[in-house]
């Protein structure tokens, strides 16, 4: 029964130091977010706007993408479309080779993690240089982000100092955070100065004006998109919004939800390459629009809400599962509650379906999500499909067929009924609860035994409920149920 996820989660739970690092950081972020939204009414209003903007964008996605493409072209950018990671990587490699680049400086981007562009470029002889401090730490340590906003959150200063000292032996440093930061600056300066191509993600792409909006605090994002001759921006197709003024509420929702900042140090709005009379900025700007499963998610009216996400990370900061196992416990690019709904849809339930179980359904994520994604509801939907198979029998590869189907399955391979026990247990449960007579019989039997788990069968069933009762008091049925008590008070049985 020990699945890959359970093994990983178990391992993550045993790493006390990492758990401490993550817990401290998450507590801090939760407090900062709370302080950033002092006015409940204002927050509710902003979330309404955020949801409306993102819903509108998704409802009009094809038209908005066409408009974005057209506006970007008018502005002098070049637009590329990629169906999946392989295509996106090939496009990027082509651009880099066409430019004669040996290296590329990168701003922090989760989509670039999603397509695995670093490993791909390395295999093809081009050096990807992460410039965000957190991403640099991960690249040196050969690790992946454990959080979508603060990627090296699992590491503490001592570990980072050791890592820096190993990689930059000529510049010894202590574990003083200012010193570590200064070292990162020195190391990166030369790279920024010499870079010919920069890569970045996109936070919001505005169809109305052909504007790419990027937020950051370090300045590496601005440098990566301004200093080199060529800028390649990679973004999921869902990041588009219709109008420029949508940025106002979205930015404030994003930065306050993510880190409690009223605004990030830099908000960088790029609407084209360098104009003939301008003295710096890239001469070429390329926008790569990545699908990679998003159009499939888009086809399902309920699951589509997943694509509203603005990647603020608030859901993971508040998640009791994430705060315990951290991002690496999920083993996916996107961790936390958003990862638990997004990854099974991107990769298929057969591959990542179990992630939908990585939740206590406490609802904290939905309560804080700035665009009101009903994450618990979607988790339930995915759990159901994982256990029962999809509601409609259509495989993703056929999902381009007519709009008649209500629901497109997200299983990579159709017919993934959860085998064995779980299905049988629920069928038995349904059978017993469907008829008053059967229910009465069950109640009497179990009540008579003094409750399932502490009754004579407790030892037997204890194994079955094992992991659950290890840290919990087993439930105990009242000797007399509500039905009995009601009848005693003179209520009729129906």
């Amino acid at each position: 029964m020990a699945s890959a996820f359970r093994t990983r989660a178990g391992l993550a739970l045993s790493r006390e130091r990492v758990r401490g690092n993550i817990r401290r950081a998450m507590d801090g972020l939760v407090a900062k977010r709370r302080a950033a939204f002092p006015d409940d009414a204002e927050l509710a209003q902003l979330r309404d706007q955020g949801q409306a903007i993102r819903d509108h964008a998704l409802a009009n996605l094809p038209a908005l993408l066409e408009q974005l493409e057209q506006r970007c072209r008018v502005n002098g950018m070049q637009v590329h479309w990629a169906a999946d990671a392989a295509q996106a990587n090939a496009i990027i490699l082509d651009l880099l080779r066409g430019h004669g680049a040996k290296a590329v400086i990168k701003g922090k981007s989760m989509v670039s993690e999603e397509i695995g562009v670093n490993a791909y470029l390395e295999r093809h002889g081009i050096e990807p240089i992460e410039t965000d401090l957190g991403e640099l730490i991960l690249q040196l340590g050969n690790e992946h982000p454990s959080h979508i906003i603060t990627p090296a959150v699992h590491k503490d200063r001592a570990e980072i100092a050791a890592l820096f000292n190993r990689h930059f032996p000529d510049e010894p440093c202590s574990d003083d955070i200012d010193q570590l930061t200064a070292l990162a600056r020195r190391v990166m300066r030369a790279r920024f100065q010499g870079a010919t191509v920069g890569m970045s993600g996109v936070n919001f792409a505005v169809a109305e004006t052909g504007t790419l909006c990027l937020v950051e605090n370090e300045g590496n994002g601005r440098l990566s998109t301004t200093a080199p001759d060529m800028h390649i921006a990679v973004t999921g197709i869902e990041k588009v919004v219709a109008r420029l003024d949508a940025l106002a509420p979205l930015l404030t929702l994003l930065t306050r939800s993510a880190t409690g900042q009223p605004v990030t140090t830099y908000v960088n709005m790029i609407s084209g390459p360098r104009k003939p009379d301008e003295r710096d900025g890239p001469r070429e700007v390329h926008l790569v629009l990545l699908d990679n499963g998003r159009s499939r998610i888009h086809a399902d009216p309920e699951l589509r809400a997943t694509l509203r996400c603005i990647r603020c990370g608030a859901c993971m900061n508040h998640c009791p599962v994430y705060t315990r196992i951290g991002g690496h416990g999920y083993g996916t690019v996107y961790p936390g509650p958003i990862g638990a709904i997004l990854e099974p849809q991107l990769q298929g339930l057969q591959v990542q379906g179990e992630l939908a179980q990585a939740s206590s359904l406490c609802g904290a994520c939905a309560e804080v999500c700035p665009v009101r994604i009903p994450i618990p509801q979607l988790l339930n939907r995915l759990r159901h499909e994982h256990a029962e198979g999809p509601t409609a029998s259509q495989s993703p590869s056929q999902s381009a067929s007519p709009a008649s189907s209500q629901s497109v399955p997200i299983q990579a391979v159709p017919g993934g009924h959860r085998p064995g026990l779980q299905g049988r247990v629920w069928r038995a449960w349904a059978l017993l609860h469907a008829s008053p007579a059967r229910y009465r019989w069950m109640r009497r039997t179990i009540g008579g035994m003094g409750g399932l788990l502490d009754g004579p069968f407790g030892g037997l069933l204890g194994g079955l409920f094992g992991p659950w009762t290890r840290s919990r008091t087993p439930p105990r049925l009242a000797r007399r149920g509500l039905q009995d008590l009601a009848r005693q008070e003179g209520f009729a049985d129906d």
Partner: protein, 254 residues
């Protein structure tokens, strides 16, 4: 590639989207339709008087470790003193920038005062000098945002993008009457949607990171210091008059 584009768009169209984007029935200009159907809401702004605008802007940007100095017409002297105290050797500025004449004219000539260095070459010709030999950069700015304590810059050929980014100290002159309450108000007032520049920026404080133990460290890749010279001209401050509209001569140039 065109194929991929068509396929992606087709997959998106085949979904039962809320609005009528059925294949074959698209409006001639999809843009017009999608823009008018986009949700709208009243402009988010606050009725803050000039003093409150200035005060909020100042508190906001100081909270993220920018330095704000109220200045008058002798601001170049004050700036020179601030930079000299920091041991800066030079200050790069755009000679065609809107404030360049005043800067040059008011710059003191005494011993030890940082040297003014014109920044008037394409980056290809001055990359080394900008990265290695520049201690401070000076730019004008378009506006300030009181709600978040942000400077708004639209870099121009005269004051290009890297001038506010590469030098370790960024110095900005902001006219107090250019402070508005929110970004939304500014976008609306100035009609940004019709005239976005190559690059528009909000800058709120010096470069920073909290990537190590959520502890703030300043000057990661961008400037480690941000010096804001806040100039209150005598003409401003006439009761609760709103800030000047977009196209005063000064901002058009900046």
């Amino acid at each position: 590639m065109t194929d991929t584009r068509t396929q992606i768009l087709q997959r998106l169209r085949s979904a039962n989207t809320a609005t009528a984007s059925v294949p074959g029935s698209e409006p001639a200009s999809p843009s017009a339709a999608t823009l008018t159907s986009a949700p709208t809401w009243p402009v988010r702004r606050f009725d803050w008087g000039p003093e409150e605008l200035t005060d909020r802007f100042r508190r906001g940007i100081e909270a993220v470790r920018a330095e704000v100095h109220a200045v008058g017409d002798d601001w170049p002297r004050q700036l020179a003193a601030l930079l000299q105290a920091r041991g800066a050797r030079n200050l790069r500025y755009g000679p065609d920038g809107p404030l360049a004449p005043a800067l040059i004219q008011g710059w003191p000539t005494a011993e030890g005062v940082p040297r003014l260095v014109p920044h008037d070459q394409p980056i290809e010709a001055c990359r080394r000098a900008l990265f290695d030999d520049t201690d401070a950069g000076f730019t004008a700015c378009r506006a300030g945002i009181a709600e978040t304590g942000s400077l708004v810059l639209w870099p121009t050929p005269a004051e290009p993008r890297l001038l506010s980014l590469v030098p370790p100290i960024h110095c900005v002159l902001l006219e107090a009457d250019r402070i508005v309450s929110t970004l939304h108000e500014l976008m609306q007032r100035e009609g940004w949607a019709q005239r976005m520049p190559t690059n528009a920026l909000l800058i709120s404080g010096p470069s920073k990171s909290a990537d190590i133990e959520q502890t703030l460290a300043y000057g990661v890749h961008g400037p480690a210091e941000l010096i804001v010279l806040l100039r209150t001209t005598s003409a401003a401050g006439t009761g609760s008059a709103p800030p000047a509209t977009a196209d005063t001569a000064r901002t058009a140039a900046c």
